[in-house]
């Protein structure tokens, strides 16, 4: 296992045990940046627009834009620092570690030859399963958003571990959709927190 793969696994697992929203966002940012570092050698000599777009997607959008977009909202709201990503008990922690092991075991069925590709697939599968574990435990919109972003990052990693490269137009379209999704997340995060407790105001006859 290369140091970068190990670091990525750490970025996936450690925020589960440190129950603050800042750590969750820092973990997401790290995931994006490490994935960019993992992708960079394979994209050399960086002569095509597709390569630059991949780096832009991983480093800037996933590594910076997405966590920052949510960070600014939570900071403006003065959200309390504690945010349990998964329940803080021994059972949940065992489940999380078991999920990582399950991901590694499953990757052996998918990629039979041991090596860096198998490791990347293992980390991607573990990240995907952990994303679902977080989603299953999430009770607040922020935790649910974190879970979705974890799942999205794992998908990007799995794509990275293979040899498939989509044409520029498709890549751009998918990136635009991801950015739009982040925009929506930001909007919901800002409005769901403030709209809680509001009384039903609009009569039904006033809706199309």
């Amino acid at each position: 296992m290369s140091p970068l793969s190990l670091a990525l696994l750490g970025a996936l697992v450690i925020p589960l045990f440190v129950a603050t929203w800042r750590m969750s966002l820092f973990g997401l940012a790290l995931q994006g940046l490490i994935m960019a570092a993992l992708a960079y050698p394979g994209l050399q000599p960086m002569s095509s627009a597709e390569s630059w777009l991949s780096i832009f997607d991983l480093a800037l959008v996933r590594g910076l834009l997405a966590p920052l977009a949510l960070y600014t909202v939570l900071r403006a709201q003065g959200a309390p620092s504690r945010n349990d990503v998964i329940s803080a008990n021994l059972f949940s922690w065992t489940l999380a570690l078991g999920t990582v092991l399950a991901g590694f075991n499953f990757s052996e069925a998918l990629v039979s030859e041991a090596g860096e590709q198998q490791t990347l697939v293992a980390v991607a599968v573990a990240g995907f399963l952990l994303g679902f574990l977080v989603l299953a435990n999430a009770t607040t919109p922020f935790s649910q958003m974190t879970a979705v972003l974890r799942i999205e990052n794992s998908i990007a990693l799995l794509e990275l571990s293979g040899g498939q490269h989509s044409p520029f137009g498709l890549q751009l379209g998918m990136l635009a959709i991801f950015v739009a999704t982040i925009g929506f997340f930001r909007w919901y995060l800002a409005t769901l927190e403030t709209s809680e407790g509001q009384l039903e105001a609009a009569p039904d006859s006033l809706t199309l």
């Binding site: 998918l110 979705v148 498939q164 199309l208």
Partner: protein
């Protein structure tokens, strides 16, 4: 005619409504665009044209023709309903520009899903329909609708992530078996064997589970009753009758690609999702006292029936298609009617609504006929479709599925009737004076109703031919 017009025209006009100059004419733009696009879609479905367009990214085969001719007229009906609501309640004009802009982009993206010849392009278009419809679920000042909108986006994002992951796994399966990874649908047939490995099996399971989420199939169905309940009626109809079919087309494409060389590949997954959804919907229908949720659970039941029919394949697909078309019109009728009823009674509680046939005669009749069609009574297309699926279940030896199907459908019938029929025929609980219901306001629902009845009695040869071609492609022949 290049079918890309059906994508570009509504999308560009939808974006154009954002401009100040077009905004005052939003109502005309909505109805006019829906009318033109419906006419073009219908003409495109009936007239011969080349199959591939725009560098092979656009495909005009029997499946896309059928669904273009289905979702565009339904969108037209919904637009006419919105226009009639605006005439009756001029204050609604305030939020119209936003609605029209997003609804037209939604239509363009839905048409793109139907016309796509590339799985990733279709995925992107489906994601766009999700993103543009999510804000429409929000009713101004209603916190619960905002929460429902968020849950809709959350479940859709997860479901579509699963689909994307599934496609990536299928790409890896192609690589692993020495094929060049491609997501162009016309280049994929014959790759059924590729999906037999671990990448392929995982990929297909993820795609089916993800699309099942988008279609409201169990286990990830909980967004559906909430979103359908909280959204304004026109938006619920868009979700249930237009977006549902767009997602279904993507599922059809996957089945068309992978079934020919491995007929049993997705059978078990679809059977489990289908039966699970039917059971969940039956239990929920018994428990609910909310009119819109009841119809939403009925929609989950229908999605389950479609999944079961699709799972069996041979012999059921023609019935499935009839059922799909009927289902779209039934949902449009029932959700638009439910909106009218809710607006007048100011409640969704079925126990508070009684004597509809006297209070709101048109709405009472629409609710009655829509419910009968929902329950699969003759002479509606849903009866014909359900009959074909049931007989195919018996002839294909799936007797245990047949038995569960019959038990669940009977429970659903009794539970739905027990709730809906007193609403229609019961004694009015309150003395109220209703505004006159005009024929014009009911005309979209009347048109939907006519199609429903016609589907059960006589299918024109041109439509029947189209259905047979789509059915054959779904059976892998």
């Amino acid at each position: 005619m290049n079918p890309i017009v059906l994508v570009l025209l509504p999308t560009l006009l939808g974006l154009g409504v954002g401009l100040r100059r077009l905004r005052p004419h939003a109502q005309v733009v909505l109805v006019g665009t829906a009318l033109v696009v419906s006419a073009l879609a219908f003409a495109h479905a009936m007239l011969p044209s080349p199959e591939l367009w725009l560098g092979d990214y656009v495909r005009s085969d029997a499946t896309s023709r059928l669904f273009l001719a289905l979702i565009n007229p339904i969108f037209l009906g919904i637009s006419a309903y919105v226009a009639s609501r605006l005439t009756a309640t001029p204050t609604l004009h305030a939020g119209l520009g936003r609605f029209v802009g997003l609804a037209l982009v939604f239509l363009g993206a839905s048409n793109a899903v139907v016309l796509g010849n590339h799985l990733l392009v279709q995925w992107m278009a489906l994601e766009i329909t999700t993103l543009v419809v999510a804000p429409l679920i929000v009713r101004p000042g209603v916190a619960s609708s905002r929460l429902a909108s968020w849950r809709y986006l959350l479940f859709s994002s997860v479901g579509l992530s699963l689909v994307l992951l599934g496609f990536i796994c299928l790409g890896r399966a192609m690589e692993a078996s020495g094929h060049e990874p491609s997501f162009f649908i016309d280049r994929l047939p014959g790759l059924g064997a590729v999906a037999a490995g671990p990448w392929g099996k995982s990929g297909l399971a993820l795609v089916i589970l993800g699309l099942g989420t988008k279609l409201g199939l169990a286990p990830m169905y909980t967004w559906l009753p909430e979103a359908y309940d909280e959204a304004p009626p026109a938006v619920t109809a868009l979700l249930g009758a237009v977006q549902f079919n767009a997602a279904l087309v993507l599922l059809f494409r996957v089945v068309q690609v992978y079934r020919p060389s491995n007929a049993a590949l997705v059978t078990n997954e679809l059977l489990i999702l289908g039966l699970g959804s039917m059971v969940v919907s039956a239990i929920s229908i018994i428990a609910t006292r909310n009119m819109k949720r009841l119809i939403a659970y009925g929609a989950i039941n229908h999605a389950g029936v479609i999944a079961i029919g699709l799972a069996i394949g041979k012999g059921t697909t023609y019935g499935v298609l009839i059922y799909v078309i009927s289902n779209a019109f039934i949902k449009a009728i029932l959700f638009l009617t439910a909106g009218k009823i809710k607006a007048h009674y100011r409640t969704k509680d079925t126990r508070e609504i009684s004597g509809l046939i006297k209070d709101l005669p048109y709405s009472g009749v629409f609710l009655l006929v829509g419910t009968l069609a929902l329950l699969g009574f003759p002479p509606f297309g849903s009866f014909f479709g359900e009959l074909l699926i049931l007989s195919a279940l018996v002839s294909s030896g799936h007797l245990y599925v047949f038995s569960i199907f019959c038990v669940v459908i009977t429970i659903t019938f009794v539970a739905t009737g027990r709730t809906i029929f007193p609403m229609i025929w019961g004694a009015p609980k309150k003395v109220q004076t209703w505004p006159e219901q005009t024929f014009l306001a009911g005309s979209p629902k009347i048109a939907f109703l006519v199609v429903l009845v016609v589907l059960g009695l006589y299918i024109p040869p041109s439509i029947s031919g189209l259905l047979e071609r789509v059915a054959a492609s779904l059976e892998g022949s």
